[in-house]
């Protein structure tokens, strides 16, 4: 039974597809509850990473406490937890959901439900969250709230009749959302005097305070000075500070069961505060951790190298700093003949990889050369040993390989029905196995396919978007490994294998892939003072060949008094270009070439 204090708390999150208005609704809720002034909103709420703002996605979970006074003057504390909204961060999402009792399901009144939304709805249902459908953007001329309500009822199977109709942009219907939260989302419960059980749903590294751990207290209470233990890692710390998100960090005397807040304890490393772990007291521990903790493992790997070899240490420092805030980022030193010293980095998915690369370049001003992403292949060797391959270069010789396996995903694609044909064609091309097709409201379909992960890590989403004019949405989950006929495709420049360009492909696709890569490299590699043969090979067998013809001249015909400064600038520019090249044997290769294997169409 919730205590009287808990009766006045509501913990919830917002589930929405990108662009369906999650942030705008969150902003409105804050504004209506007077949590922040408009100016503060600019300064604080939206003051997240540039990348998040630009891409309209949430990478880190954030939380905010709102105080809502209902018509009778009763005050309620709302803890809104903003969750990452991308398939790469499914586990983080699940932990954020576990910290809540309910969720607002925001659906665009003109677009309806999308695959990503659906995936998170199922996740929320798994956690027994109370779902409140909210129909947003009702001000749009193309809004069809009744249709969307029916869709929610049909597809998700929850009552949408009394769903608030809102326009977060124009501030319509916000009051009804606040009322629904009080009325429908259950208050938290949990014994305030039991041994401490706090769920970590995110953490953030701060230069001054160390790790700030975002927690939901499930049982017990925690105060500054308490000695706490992380149950998964076994690490112990002394609490320096506890508090709430207002949204700025505001210290409080304690956090009690039902509360959402933060704990700081001079923790140096986010890996000591893993998302999903349970915090308890060292001297009065709880007997069992909260369910659902798992160590998340990277799904996608790629090599990251500094464009300028001299900046290897800078790259390492930058990766270490990013890892302070991102326990799922993995990296270890790697050496490539072509690229020199760098790191093999593991990511939760492609978006995660993109974000890390972008942050390295932007926030740490690094110029990077990245290799094509690879999934983790399993190789059964003839001696019975099973090894995992994250870098194609490390594939053992063919004679030592008994069989190979590749990771498979279950993919769900939601799209207007008219694009069914082209989507099926695309999945077919990507070695997909058709599973099911469901019609939603007669005009949309939900297609389920099993696809090899390595077929979707390149450009699947782009291809899907372009073939459905951007209407399709897509979600996937890993379902395991299956046997596959895979080969290593090598690329040779001037007769030498370029290790950083090797990749593992399905045998049926090797020829085509080899040809396209050779053609693409021919476009990308500038002519040099000698001819450069480009070859694609499987083992010793050459399957494609292109040639970059030799440059015949590199000279400025005229250089008089007025041309000297200009000529010097031209040469400096040429030198800059050269610096951005990688020297492989005698061949200079532009950095984009290492990603060429990605752009196949």
């Amino acid at each position: 039974m919730p205590s009287p204090r808990q009766q006045k708390i509501r913990n919830f999150c917002i589930i929405a597809h990108i662009d369906h208005g999650k942030s705008t609704l969150a902003d409105r809720l804050m504004e209506y509850t007077g949590s922040v002034t408009e100016r503060e909103m600019e300064d604080q709420i939206l003051d997240m990473m540039d990348i998040e703002r630009e891409r309209g996605i949430t990478i880190k979970a954030t939380a905010v406490r709102l105080v809502y006074k209902d018509d009778d003057g009763e005050e309620y504390i709302f803890n809104l937890i903003d969750t990452p909204g991308h398939v790469d961060f499914t586990y983080e999402v699940s932990r954020s959901l576990a910290a809540c009792e309910g969720a607002l399901l925001v659906v665009d009144a003109s677009q309806g439900i999308e695959a990503q939304t659906l995936a998170n709805v199922y996740l929320a249902m798994d956690h027994n969250l109370e779902l409140i459908p909210v129909i947003n953007k009702i001000d749009l001329p193309s809004a069809q709230p009744e249709l969307v309500k029916r869709e929610i009822e049909d597809v998700i199977g929850i009552d949408a009749e009394s769903a608030p109709l809102v326009s977060a942009k124009n501030g319509i219907g916000i009051e009804s959302v606040l009322k629904s939260i009080v009325a429908h989302i259950p208050p938290p419960s949990g014994d305030e005097d039991a041994p401490l059980k706090a769920l970590i749903f995110d953490s953030l590294y701060d230069n001054y305070r160390g790790v700030i751990t975002y927690v939901r207290i499930m049982e017990g209470r925690v105060r500054p000075g308490d000695r706490i233990r992380m149950m998964a890692t076994g690490k112990e710390f002394e609490v320096t500070d506890v508090g709430i998100f207002s949204p700025a960090l505001v210290p409080t005397a304690e956090l009690c069961a039902g509360d959402v807040g933060y704990i700081t304890a001079s923790i140096k490393n986010v890996r000591d505060t893993r998302v999903g772990d349970t915090i308890t007291h060292a001297d009065r521990p709880t007997d069992k951790p909260l369910p659902g903790y798992k160590k998340v493992n990277p799904m996608v790997y790629c090599g990251i190298y500094p464009a300028d070899g001299a900046r290897y240490d800078d790259l390492r420092d930058a990766l270490e700093k990013l890892r302070l805030n991102d326990a799922s980022l993995m990296f270890e030193p790697e050496t490539s003949v072509a690229l020199g010293f760098g790191f093999r980095c593991g990511f939760l998915g492609l978006l995660h990889m993109d974000i890390i690369q972008e942050r390295l370049e932007r926030e740490y001003d690094l110029d990077l050369v990245t290799t094509a992403p690879s999934v983790i292949y399993k190789v059964v060797k003839t001696n019975g040993e099973v090894i995992e391959i994250t870098n194609p270069t490390n594939l053992p010789p063919v004679t030592e390989i008994e069989s190979m396996q590749e990771p498979m995903v279950k993919a769900q694609i939601m799209s207007p029905a008219e694009y069914t044909g082209s989507i099926m064609e695309l999945c077919q091309e990507r070695r997909g196995v058709y599973k099911t097709m469901e019609y939603i409201e007669g005009t949309r379909v939900l297609l389920t396919y099993e696809l090899p992960l390595n077929e979707i890590i390149y450009d699947f989403f782009d291809a899907l978007k372009s073939r459905t004019r951007g209407y399709a949405s897509f979600d996937y989950e890993l379902i395991g490994y299956s046997d596959s006929n895979l080969v290593k495709l090598d690329i040779l420049l001037n007769g030498e294998v370029v290790d950083a360009l090797s990749l593992i492909v399905h045998k049926d696709k090797a020829y085509q892939r080899g040809r396209v890569i050779a053609e693409k490299l021919k476009e990308l590699i500038p002519r040099q003072m000698f001819e450069i043969p480009i070859q694609a090979a499987i083992g010793n067998k050459i399957i494609a060949r292109e040639t970059v013809k030799a440059l015949r001249k590199d000279v400025l015909a005229k250089c008089y008094g007025g041309d000297i400064s200009r000529k010097k600038k031209l040469l400096e520019k040429q030198k800059e270009g050269k610096k951005r090249m990688r020297q492989i044997g005698t061949v200079e290769v532009p950095q984009e070439a290492f990603m060429a294997v990605l752009k196949l169409n």
């Binding site: 015949r552 001249k553 590199d554 000279v555 005229k558 007025g562 040469l571």
Partner: protein
């Protein structure tokens, strides 16, 4: 005292050639008089009442087409130079011209006033190519101009020619060289056509030029041209410059040896007392700035020691004589082959330079890849 070059710019022409990106403009004749006034004012700025005047060993009046001005005005400009600078007795004094802008009388005036080198724009011997390039003259008119100049007492004559013109065959090119050499000129500047952005030719090229000369054919023209000129008594002393022995252009050699020079006129660059600077290329702005402030400079850059070393190498490797080891050591106080031994070895391996006791010079292949040589020395 250090000898310097002096360049005067004349930004007027009868017609803009299709390949030209120089700051020169047709249809601005009304500005000729005020421009000359501004130019003389800029030269006058160097007239020191006290202290030593700059010593000048070469003067080059270029453009545009300086000979659009009448002979007296040009002679007047030269007199002004002599008044404001300490011009050597035996100074090389060049003026650029185009056929159709000079007659016997004008040439006589120029020669008499002290000009001793005449540069004439020919470009090609084939009238269809001249038309394509937007030239105002025929090959015949060029021939007439050379003969008139020689009659007026010009012994030292340069002809500018171009290869790689769309529609030009190897035969056309070799004919141009043969005919030009046969006129007893002393110097030939042979340029590979550069299609610069912003020129009419550039716009044409965007649309696709018929008869465009492919890179292989363009190099063949260059290499065969070098051989032919050699047989005709002209040796290549710089990438694009050929002279009968003793007739190398001293004014331009000064640029390639990274010497200092003073530039006057719109768009003129100079390198004086360790500073590179340039005037506004805008004709009207130049006139206005000169009249208001007596200064038309748009920007300047102090050249430090490292830059000077690089520029010396960048320019010096354009020359057949390359970089003289003693000269280099005298100028910078260190040994070129020692300081850059790795880089020079690499260049030798690639067949781009040769080294002997006295100098490091480009090979025949080095002339085709001069940028690569220069880049080697850029840090």
């Amino acid at each position: 005292m250090k000898a310097r070059g002096l360049y005067l710019h004349f930004p007027f022409c009868a017609r803009k050639c299709s390949y030209c990106d120089f700051p020169s403009f047709p249809g601005k004749e009304r500005y000729m008089a005020p421009y000359l006034g501004a130019l003389l004012k800029e030269i006058g700025g160097y007239n020191k009442e006290k202290g030593e005047k700059y010593r000048i060993s070469t003067i080059f009046m270029g453009g545009g087409t300086p000979t659009l001005f009448n002979g007296d005005h040009l002679a007047g400009a030269l007199d002004k130079c002599r008044e404001c600078f300490n011009v050597d007795e035996d100074a090389e004094i060049t003026i650029e011209s185009n056929p159709g802008t000079v007659d016997h009388k004008k040439l006589l005036v120029l020669r008499k006033s002290g000009f001793n080198r005449l540069s004439i724009g020919l470009q090609a011997w084939q009238d269809r190519l001249l038309k394509f390039l937007g030239r105002i003259h025929t090959a015949r008119e060029f021939e007439d101009a050379v003969l008139m100049a020689q009659k007026a007492g010009f012994e030292n004559i340069n002809a500018d020619v171009i290869f790689g013109i769309p529609g030009q065959s190897l035969e056309d090119w070799l004919e141009t060289l043969k005919r030009t050499a046969a006129l007893n000129v002393t110097h030939i500047s042979a340029y590979s056509l550069i299609v610069e952005e912003g020129t009419p030719l550039y716009k044409l090229k965007q649309k696709g030029l018929p008869g465009e000369v492919a890179e292989d054919a363009e190099r063949e023209m260059y290499h065969k041209g070098v051989d032919l000129l050699e047989r005709l008594g002209f040796y290549r002393y710089e990438i694009s410059n050929f002279a009968r022995p003793g007739y190398e252009c001293r004014h331009n050699l000064n640029y390639w040896k990274n010497g200092e020079y003073i530039g006057c006129g719109s768009g003129a660059h100079q390198y004086l007392d360790g500073v590179r600077s340039y005037n506004t290329p805008d004709l009207e702005a130049y006139i206005e700035m000169m009249s208001k402030t007596g200064n038309a400079s748009l920007g300047s850059e102090k050249i430090d020691r490292d830059q000077e070393v690089f520029e010396t190498l960048m320019l010096g490797f354009r020359l057949t004589e390359g970089i003289g080891k003693d000269d280099f050591h005298k100028r910078f106080g260190f040994d070129l082959s020692e300081r850059y031994s790795d880089r020079i070895s690499a260049l030798k391996r690639e067949g781009l330079v040769l080294e002997d006791d006295t100098a490091i010079r480009p090979t025949a292949r080095g002339f085709d890849f001069q940028n690569q040589i220069a880049l080697t020395f850029l840090d």
